[in-house]
Amino acid sequence: MTSEPIIAARGVTRRFGGLVALDDIDLDVPRGIVQAIIGPNGSGKTTLLNALSGASHADAGSIRIGGNEIFRLKPHRIARLGLARTFQTIRIFENLNVIENVKVAAACHTPTSLFNIVTSNARQQQSEAEIDTNAREALEIVGLAGRANDHAKQLPYAQQRLLEIARALASKPKVLLLDEPAAGMNMTESMTLLATIARLKSSGITILLVEHNVRLVMGISDHVTVLDFGKKIAEGAPSEVQRNPLVIEAYLGRRHRHA
């Protein structure tokens, strides 16, 4: 059985002035796997995530998420089509508490009716109750349920990262993009994160992971795409990619010399 990939990108190109940050990238992500995008600094990993999520549109190309063309669609429309993401630099809502942060995304598929809100009628209370349940579930998954009522900015750094994942999960995504989720985490926190990612995969969510730390991703990824200077230079199972001379030269080689 050949089901369509959940993400199918063709010829994605992004220029910043004279710099070609993404050069004609093709990317297929099959459903239900963990796929990693790796590459040295400045290779275009985050630019690719931004193009996929609509945060910063590609200049050319075609991007289909679950069969829907999303090229140049507003990010909130892409989110409602089932794509959620986290950020490399944390972007939590500082003026909301922990559970409210998650509720913002949990309301992703709830239409807002000013009339219902103002009259606080039965329908409004029911939809708030549903949002609350979804948000608590998402907090439970990342282990933040106990901090639901704390101020979001009072959370320690690693937990703010988990909060972003909970927020992304609350919109019930088909695909989850994680941009360097382990950045700034210690070994224990990274291990917990890996376990969480594995659990999400087994619940059927496709995960596309950008990571700088190669060793971290090799264990959990089913498929690895390697970027260098905005070009895709290799793709395949982690073990194949690790042996690829181009990858070793572009990325692993340089790292080994430093290490």
């Binding site: 609509g54 989110a79 003026n95 409210e100 913002v104 807002t112 000013l114 939809s127």
Partner: protein, 311 residues
């Protein structure tokens, strides 16, 4: 909830005020303070929560007041005036908001300053209808099928009830999908978008709801004070409304009310100082911003936090 005792106490004080203060002048001042509080609550949606700087709030206040004054003086039954005022400010806020909500913060500030100036110039120069700089007098009072408040004290209770309703609705919006979306938009527009929030629509709604608050307050201003002039809705007033929001506490419902009441009463209370009043007023505002950058409302939560840490 912890805030219930404070809420009940404030309500009791608000209801008891006319019993203690018989002075018509004080009641009149309080009536204006309450109207300002409603307008600042409206400003809080777009500026305090959605994070968009809006200097057009005084103009919406004025549009509501002039619509009501002109319509009721022309013989329209009062009951229709609030609806007409709302229609006018909704149309105006849509026309202004649709193109500008895509702009970033500072451009919006500039656009709304321009809008305020256009409204003021219209009021000043369309003399046969608006009375020009001398304003409009003898505006018919509030009257619903022949019943209406008589005297300042009854107006006070009408306005307090309206403020209560305005607070209730603001609080419901704050704890709904819409309120959270507004604050998310302020904190990180891109993270809000990626969480499925249509940030342009959210900003536009915040702007429109704020305009409706101002429009209704303007309608009540015209029919309870019975006299309006362009000065009450000028650019200076727009800056004053923004100051009330900042001093009271951006994003805090209680802060809006405290800021509006304090900055309406303070200039009158300090009148005996003559020209020194402005110096003291300016220093006071600076002091609040330095001591409590989150406004007067944040002083309460700050002391709570200290007590929690100490205990």
């Amino acid at each position: 909830m912890k805030s219930w005792p404070i809420l009940a106490l404030s309500a009791a004080v608000a209801l008891a005020v006319p019993v203690v203060a018989h002075d018509g002048y004080i009641i009149q001042l309080l009536n204006i303070a309450i109207l300002n509080a409603i307008v600042v609550l409206g400003l809080n949606f777009v500026t305090g929560w959605a994070g968009q700087i809006n200097f057009g709030q005084a103009a919406f206040y004025g549009l509501g007041a002039y619509t009501t004054a002109i319509a009721t003086k022309a013989g329209l039954p009062w009951i229709a005036a609030p609806f007409l005022s709302v229609v006018v400010v909704v149309v105006a806020s849509l026309m202004l908001g649709l193109p500008t909500m895509r702009l970033r913060t500072y451009y919006l500030a500039m656009t709304t300053i321009g809008f305020g100036e256009i409204v003021r110039l219209m009021i000043v120069h369309w003399e046969p209808v608006t009375g020009g700089t001398s304003g409009l007098r003898a505006i018919p009072g509030v009257s619903v099928f022949g019943f209406g408040p008589q005297g300042q004290v009854q107006h006070y209770y009408l306005l307090i009830a309206t403020l209560g309703l305005a607070i209730l609705i603001a609080s419901r919006i704050r704890h709904s999908v819409l309120g959270r979306a507004m604050i998310a938009t302020r904190d990180s527009e891109i993270a809000a978008e990626q969480s499925g929030v249509d940030t342009i629509r959210t900003k536009l709604l915040a702007f429109m709801i704020g305009a409706v608050y101002a429009g209704l307050a303007g309608c009540l201003y015209a029919s309870s004070i019975r006299f309006i002039s362009p000065d009450s809705f000028s650019g200076t007033q727009a800056v004053l409304l923004m100051t009330m929001l900042i001093v009271g506490g951006m994003g805090s419902i209680a802060g809006c009310v405290v800021g509006a009441v304090a900055l309406t009463i303070l200039p009158e209370a300090l009148r005996f100082l003559g020209q020194w009043y402005l110096v003291l007023y300016g220093l006071g505002v600076i002091a609040v911003i330095v001591v409590a950058p989150g406004g007067l409302a944040s002083l309460v939560s700050l002391s709570q936090l200290r007590r929690a840490n100490a205990g």
